[in-house]
């Protein structure tokens, strides 16, 4: 079953007086539980594609179905809710909330959902923190953690809502190679345990070996799917 179904996706940006055609007609389907990598040079449209899939950027043209819903027709409230309930994000620069500690950062999306009790939230967050191996750092603020640790927190935060898809934009770019590998291993492990679809972008060829499938993108067009 396809969790993502994209047809004829175009995305244009206005940059001063010129228009940048970031995506020029992308067709792509991604199966549930996939561990997919999007590869391509800087400026090829990787991040834009991830942003559109992640409902944080809208398409200029085309159709994008995420978890069976056509997201191009949703309003801000619905699309925000979509992000919260169906999508997890892992950023290149970790993007943790600096005033919250590890536990709070992981709990944060669940709190926004306003669904679970405080105890259940705590339990779920602690379980994930344990899974990413940060049990000892549960009360540490982001500034007190290393890059790898921060990204682990980010992974736990992304997974805590049990999303259908986790999008990771160059998750290892700001990490040394050893830590990067650990993170990818962790992601793979989580993909296995939680059966969550992972889509990550990278321009590092070494990372590709972890991917179950790979999409190559160049100048806003998919050039190869494997």
């Amino acid at each position: 079953m396809d969790i993502i179904d994209i047809k004829g996706l175009k995305k244009n940006y206005a940059l001063g007086s010129t228009t940048v055609h970031a995506l020029r007609g992308v067709d792509l389907t991604i199966a549930k539980g996939d561990f997919m990598s999007i590869i391509g040079p800087s400026g090829s449209g990787k991040t834009t594609l991830l942003n559109v899939i992640g409902c944080i950027d809208n398409a200029t043209e085309g159709s994008v179905k995420v978890s069976g819903r056509e997201i191009t027709k949703l309003n801000d409230r619905e699309i925000t809710s979509m992000r919260l309930h169906h999508i997890g994000f892992i950023f290149q620069t970790f993007n943790l909330i600096p005033v919250l500690d590890t536990l709070e950062n992981v709990e944060f999306p669940l709190l926004l959902m306003r669904k679970l009790s405080k105890q259940d939230i705590r339990k779920r967050a602690e379980k994930l923190i344990e899974e990413v191996g940060l049990r000892e750092y549960i009360k540490h603020r982001p500034a007190e953690l290393s890059g790898g640790q921060r990204q682990r927190v980010a992974i736990a935060r992304a997974l805590v809502t049990n999303p259908d898809i986790v999008l990771a934009d160059e998750p290892t770019a700001n990490l040394d190679s050893v830590t990067g590998e650990q993170i990818l291993n962790l992601m793979k492990e989580m993909n296995r345990i939680e059966n969550t679809t992972f889509i990550f972008s990278t321009h590092d060829a070494n990372v590709l070996k972890y991917a179950r499938s790979v999409v190559k993108i160049r100048d806003g067009l998919i050039v190869k799917e494997a």
């Binding site: 942003n51 992640g54 944080i56 950027d57 801000d76 409230r77 925000t80 809710s81 992000r83 919260l84 309930h85 994000f89 950023f91 620069t93 993007n95 909330i97 600096p98 005033v99 919250l100 709070e104 944060f108 999306p109 709190l111 926004l112 959902m113 935060r157 809502t161």
Partner: protein, 590 residues
């Protein structure tokens, strides 16, 4: 919602320096605001409770006799008090107010003084009042309560400064010269039983005697009351209303004197009515009355008129220029009242006064009426009662003259000028509330409130500029963070609210600190003692100290106002931040 608070509070402390700077500005502003308000309120408390209630009462009733504002007397005091009790519910105190200018001679030193009557243990002086009194009149030597000592000749209490001016000490005698209510020059010896230090200069000028002593010296009889000052529970709310109600209750009944008219040894029962001499009444006499005989050939001089009805003329044989005497029973005491009248005209039948009636010019009428207040009233049947429908009715005088309610101080002044000029013979009863009589005092309060309002405006701009700038900087710095939380799934309104909560909290904490600061400052300032003996502003001090009267309501209101202004000011930048596109925000780099 809880986590929004958590984030907001942590964000607040995250940018500590900026928060402290803005917070301090708001705190200082709040402190000034609370301070200004407490000061203004303190002053108005002093004005209303200490000064206005003593100087003019919250509601006052004056009785101007003979067109002389200094001559305040009403001869049927019990009746007035009854009306007051009926018309002014929960009146706290009714003070008899007498202040008379006098020349005082101490030990080889003379000075002008005001003799003021007071009753330190009178009705309505409860414990709180007594305490206030003790605070306002700090006894230095002797006892204030000795004003009531009947074994001492005219006991008097005066301020330390006054004692110094007159070169007198405790138990010394001060001689005073003054004019009594009859206009006679009087002299008296006052024995000093208390030397005090008044809480404000305002109270230092007069010398204080027991109200009974002053009334005796000035020639008030036991039925007489001077001007009355009413203190009420809630003057600001009720003063005007009660004054209006009291005014309505003081409408005078028609003045009648039922008595025995004697002529050539024989007597007949008659009723005397007062004939008003204002121009409207004179016109009424001209138009409504016909005379069958009169002294002057062409007109009746109403100022000297004594008009009898034709029927009375027939019974008694009285003709113009004839003299008759009237005697009647007085309301108070055994002494009968009486007058000697020379008839000036005889009203023809059909003039509306057919019967045993004598119309007397108001000068002679009121002289008699007020000299011995008659037992008879218009409510009880007598030899003659006029029909209220007749044209001339309006020319008959009442037992007193009720002045219309003045609405402004200017009206009050105009009224007293008119009273003096017109020389009305009837006692002019005037009801005033502090809003007219003490409008100067109220203007001062208004000015102080304007200062508070100015503080609010300044504070508003501090908050406006401070909050807007701070928020803009904060939002700029936190753009990526906003992008992240939006990406994670925080709704637009929550983002906006987190900023509003953050600003609101900053304002609240600052306002609370400012209030605390204000209270500390108030405590400090009220510890200072000012020497203001010669400064009239000293009257605004209590015992030489600045008096602050902060109210919980006002403080809460100011805190809410400040938080409100801050939140409203923060609303637009916060909304702007919330509306940022998540993708754009995530792309943002400083």
């Amino acid at each position: 919602m809880n986590f929004l608070f958590t984030i907001s509070i942590r964000n607040l402390f995250r940018q500590r320096r900026r928060s402290i700077l803005l917070g301090s500005a708001i705190a200082i502003g709040t402190a000034v605001l609370v301070l200004a308000n407490a000061f203004a309120h303190g002053i108005s408390e002093v004005l209303f409770n200490e000064i206005v209630s003593y100087v003019s009462g919250h509601v006052s009733v004056s009785f101007t006799k003979g067109g002389n504002a200094n001559n305040q007397v009403f001869h049927d005091g019990a009746r007035i008090r009854e009306i007051i009790n009926k018309r002014v519910p929960n009146v706290k105190r009714v003070d008899e107010a007498i202040g008379v200018f006098a020349r005082a001679i101490g030990n080889a030193k003379a000075d002008n003084v005001i003799l003021v009557g007071m009753d330190p243990s009178g009705d309505g002086v409860d414990e709180k009042e007594a305490e206030k009194l003790a605070k306002n009149f700090k006894e230095l030597e002797g006892h204030f309560a000795d004003l009531a000592d009947t074994t001492v000749e005219n006991p008097v209490c005066l301020a330390q400064e006054k004692a110094k001016t007159l070169n007198v000490k405790l138990h010394d005698v001060v001689r005073v010269r003054f004019t009594d209510i009859r206009g006679q020059t009087q002299a008296a010896r006052l024995t000093i039983v208390c030397i005090m230090k008044p809480s404000n200069v305002f109270m230092a000028a007069p010398v204080y005697l027991h109200i009974k002593t002053v009334k005796r010296l000035l020639g008030y009889s036991s039925n007489d009351v001077p001007q009355l000052y009413l203190s009420i529970e809630n003057p600001r709310k009720d003063a005007k209303r009660f004054a209006d109600s009291l005014h309505a209750g003081l409408n005078p009944p028609l003045a009648v004197i039922d008595g025995q008219l004697s002529v050539h040894g024989s007597g007949v029962e008659v009723t005397l009515l007062s004939l008003r001499t204002d121009s409207a009444s004179l016109a009424l006499v001209d138009s409504a009355m016909k005379f069958s005989a009169r002294t002057a050939a062409d007109s009746v001089n109403p100022k000297k008129a004594v008009i009898i009805s034709e029927s009375l003329s027939k019974i008694t044989g009285l003709q113009p220029d004839d003299t008759c005497t009237i005697s009647y029973e007085g309301k108070f005491g055994d002494e009968p009242g009486g007058a000697r009248l020379i008839v000036t005209a005889i009203a023809a039948a059909g003039s509306g006064i057919d019967g045993q009636v004598v119309l007397v010019n108001e000068r002679d009428f009121y002289k008699t009426f007020y000299d011995v207040w008659p037992k008879s009233t218009v409510a009880v049947n007598g030899p003659f009662r006029p029909d209220t429908e007749i044209g001339i009715y309006k020319a008959f005088g009442g037992e007193w003259l009720l002045a219309p309610r003045s609405r402004t101080t200017r009206d009050v002044m105009k009224l007293y000028r008119e009273i003096a000029q017109k020389g009305w013979k009837a006692i002019v009863v005037d009801v005033g509330s502090m809003y007219e009589t003490a409008s100067m005092v109220l203007n001062l309060e208004y000015a102080l409130n304007m200062i508070t309002a100015a503080c609010v405006m300044v504070l508003f701009f501090i908050i406006l500029i401070g909050v807007v700038n701070t928020l803009r900087m904060t939002i700029r710095e936190r753009t990526r963070e906003i992008g992240t939380i939006r990406a994670i799934g925080m709704q637009c309104v929550d983002v906006r609210n987190s900023f509003l909560i953050e600003t609101g909290l900053l304002a609240l904490i600052s306002a609370l600190s400012g209030t605390a600061l204000a209270f500390v400052t108030m405590f400090g300032l009220s510890q200072l003692t000012f020497k203001t003996d010669a400064n009239p502003l000293g009257m605004l001090l209590v015992d030489g100290h600045i008096f602050f009267a902060p109210t919980v309501l006002a403080v809460c209101f100011f805190i809410m106002l400040i938080v409100g202004i801050a939140v409203v000011t923060a609303y637009f930048p916060a909304r702007h931040a919330a509306k940022l596109s998540a993708a754009e925000a995530l792309r943002h780099f400083e």
